[in-house]
């Protein structure tokens, strides 16, 4: 089916396969329809259907609350039933060098538990994939309709393997599946790479990473690339990682390995929101700073007076991300272009 999209700055068209989400078809064809979460929550991908037939596969998606008329659709949840004409605000151009997302598949390997409610696993891909540090993939698992978005933890060019970390979400079908037995060696479907919260080498800024829980995933990818690209030879990195209690912490050894490679340049602070920092934890990681508090508040306190030349990355649950954005906009006064964020909702 042919989809024509018009915006105030021009129009584009692309082919959409039966059953394919309109957003995925557009991005795959190099047409940058607006999107953010791509999982039906944020409403960014709203478009107006002016001709043709398109149907949402998830009409009760939370992002539907942003739709103002029956003619409006979420392109990330909708499939075309006919040739369609759509209207959106603006068609942006893809950042040069980004890979268009595509559908692919892979096998789950190296599945392991990191904490009582966090698992990590790799997906060995059928075909290699290029992606940017900080991007995510939509994952579909056998027998469950609908996809969940998970950020890549690793960074590789022509990656043959994607690494993920998932925090258990009670009631979440995909999450429940990932915490049941038989995940190892299961075949999963992916649409990747997606997301704009990316880091590219050459950004002339200090890096500020604020992560809550599994929001640390994309930061690991960014730190891997930044380290490899020698970013920390010139610029500092400040990582703030928030979890509830000491037993919720993970990736600490990996973060310590990053830190140890860039002493005096890369700093890691772990914030515990629900308990005082046990002496055993701070003793185990003498190179880290620890604090009790909400991660955005800890970051605000420790970053005071160091606001120049910052690029901020924020990922985690919505309240934590919003609180961080407020601080970055109001106090740090960063322009939106220097605030890259990922809200898990």
């Amino acid at each position: 089916m042919k989809i024509v999209v018009s915006a105030r700055n021009g129009s584009r068209d692309f082919e959409c396969d039966p059953g394919e989400k309109i957003l995925h078809a557009a991005l795959r064809s190099g047409v940058e329809l607006p999107y953010e979460c791509s999982t039906g929550t944020c409403g960014t991908c709203k478009a107006k259907l002016v001709n043709g037939r398109a149907e949402s596969e998830w009409p009760e998606a939370p992002g539907s609350r942003y739709l103002k008329s029956p003619a409006e659709i979420l392109t990330c949840q909708s499939v075309a039933r006919d040739d369609c004409a759509l209207e959106v605000f603006t068609l942006k151009s893809a950042e040069p060098g980004t890979s268009a997302p595509r559908a692919l598949a892979g096998i789950v390997r190296r599945y392991r538990r990191l904490t009582h409610d966090v698992v990590a696993f790799d997906v060995d891909l059928d075909r290699p994939l290029d992606f940017d540090a900080g991007q995510f993939a939509l994952i579909t698992v056998p027998g469950i309709v609908g996809a969940r978005a998970y950020s890549m933890v690793n960074f590789d060019r022509r990656a043959e393997r994607l690494s993920f970390v998932v925090k258990k979400k009670p009631g979440g079908a995909v999450s429940e599946w990932l915490f049941a037995d038989g995940v190892e060696r299961a075949r999963v479907g992916l649409v990747a790479p997606l997301g704009h919260a990316t880091f590219r080498p050459g950004v002339p800024k200090h890096l500020l990473c604020i992560a809550g829980g599994s929001g640390i995933a994309g930061m690991m990818s960014i730190l891997a690339l930044a380290g490899e690209a020698n970013h920390f030879a010139t610029w500092d990195g400040q990582v703030f990682f928030g979890v509830r209690t000491a037993r919720d912490g993970f990736f600490l050894a990996e973060l310590e390995a990053f830190r140890a490679r860039h002493p005096g340049r890369l700093w890691v602070t772990v914030a515990l929101s629900d308990e005082d920092v046990p002496a055993s934890l701070s003793a185990a990681y003498p190179g880290f700073a620890f604090a009790r508090g909400l991660v955005h508040a800890v970051a605000a306190e420790r970053m005071a007076g160091r606001f120049a030349d910052l690029r901020a990355y924020v990922a985690g649950p919505p309240p934590m991300v919003d609180a961080s954005l407020r601080w970055l906009l109001r106090e740090v006064r960063l322009p939106p272009a220097d605030i890259r964020y990922d809200k898990f909702s």
Binding site: R8, N9, G10, C42, Y66, K68, F89, T90, L329
Partner: protein, 227 residues
């Protein structure tokens, strides 16, 4: 025959281009870039008036190719410079193609809110409706109030009160949940930004905010819903 190899026009005085990007800086960037590439062609960069395509800005037109660029961002200038002005290959992804020759203005709200504290309502003139007490709006904050069934956002800039539509024009999200720093109002949903004093769109924002005339009298705030 023209006087220059390439002649670049940047709209700096139309109704919307200057509100959609820092077009004065665009001119500076382009001129500096052209100068740096001196010897690779004689390129002239001029500020221009309105091209009658309001709403598609910031716009840049390049002759002799007669290439029109729309929605140009600061980050695009380097590519325009290297690829087109120096290299001769227009940047296809930025090309403007409205499909209709001639004027293509879009109706964009650009009129600033004009707080009118001294204005008196003449008989039969504009109607002032009470919104709230001045103390109900947090200092340097903002809050939404219903006024005759209309949601009105009242913000305190640190110096004065301003009143706007309550919802972000982008996604119909309450602006009250956003932040402002006295100059810029940001909607947290997708980071659209507006000039707090005029409601004009900034950065990624496509349209501005509808403003309401506001006055303060004896510790009470009043707005004119319709002028």
């Amino acid at each position: 025959m023209g006087q220059y190899d390439r002649h670049v026009f940047v709209c700096t005085s139309g109704e919307t281009c200057p509100t959609q990007g820092d077009v004065e800086k665009f001119v500076k960037t382009l001129r500096a870039g052209v100068q740096k590439a001196a010897g690779q062609g004689d390129v002239r960069v001029n500020k221009a008036g309105c091209f009658s395509q309001c709403g598609h800005g910031p716009m840049i037109v390049v002759y002799p190719e007669n290439v029109w660029y729309a929605g140009v961002q600061q980050a695009d200038l380097e590519e325009i410079l290297t690829s087109h002005l120096v290299g001769g290959a227009p940047v296809e992804r930025l090309r403007y193609d409205p499909g209709v020759p001639g004027a293509n203005k879009i109706d964009v709200e650009t009129k600033p809110a004009t707080p009118a504290p001294e204005q008196r309502a003449p008989a039969g003139g504009p109607v002032w409706t009470r919104v709230c007490g001045s103390a109900d709006v947090p200092a340097n904050g903002m809050k939404e109030f219903p006024v005759n069934g209309v949601g009105v956002l009242v913000a305190h800039t640190g110096e004065a009160f301003v009143a706007y539509q309550a919802m972000c024009p982008h996604e119909a999200v309450p602006l009250e949940g956003g932040v402002h720093d006295g100059c810029t109002l940001t909607c947290l949903e997708h980071m659209w930004q507006f000039d707090l004093k005029t409601g004009a769109p900034m950065g990624d924002a496509e349209v501005g905010l509808k403003g309401y005339p506001l006055k303060e009298e004896l510790g009470e705030l009043y707005v004119q819903l319709e002028g």
